[in-house]
Amino acid sequence: MIAIVIPIAFAMLFLAILLGLYRLARGPTVLDRVLAFDLITTCAVGMIILLSIQWQTPLFLELILVFALLGFLTTVAFVGHLRQTRQPPGPPSTPSSPASPGAP
């Protein structure tokens, strides 16, 4: 049972990280990239959780805490940096081709 569930969840997180990397490569703005990086960090935390369940060890709990803290810290630092450097508002850059929202 555990040999079936954990690879499925791991594959889901892997696919989520791939989609986040796609958005990080093709983000029209900087904020999209920051958001995608936040998603990737949290998915990495989920992968650490899966490894900790697979190996039956509680050693990775501090690693989970450190990863969560670092993801939040990078986001806050980057947003503060943008807030300091972009005081004059530039030209409004709308996304070039907004994707169609999914079916309701």
């Binding site: 569930v5 989520a16 958001l35 989920g46 369940i53 709990l61 969560a68 996304p95």
Partner: protein, 110 residues
Amino acid sequence: MIELLTFLCLLLGAALMLTAAIGVVRLPDVLCRSHAVAKALTLGIFLMLMGLWLQLEDPRQGLKIVLAIFFQVLTIPVSSHLIGLISRREMSPLPSAPPSTENKPRTIRP
């Protein structure tokens, strides 16, 4: 029973994180993407940490799990809110046209 609950938590959490990633790719704007991240990702990581807590042998380690859950639930919406603030100030992603007040017949999409 505990194992079944653990696997349910893990699968639901991973599916929610995948949903957040799909939302980040598919949604059209920065605000929509930050919305998707703030909700789906928070619930997903919460469920995965609960699954890890059910699988631990030493119950004293649960304090770190509680700390991690508290921290994730506290910080992911805060970061998303900061991104939304910057986006609202810079990009002006909302449509500037006022909503039309004419009484148009609404067409219900199938």
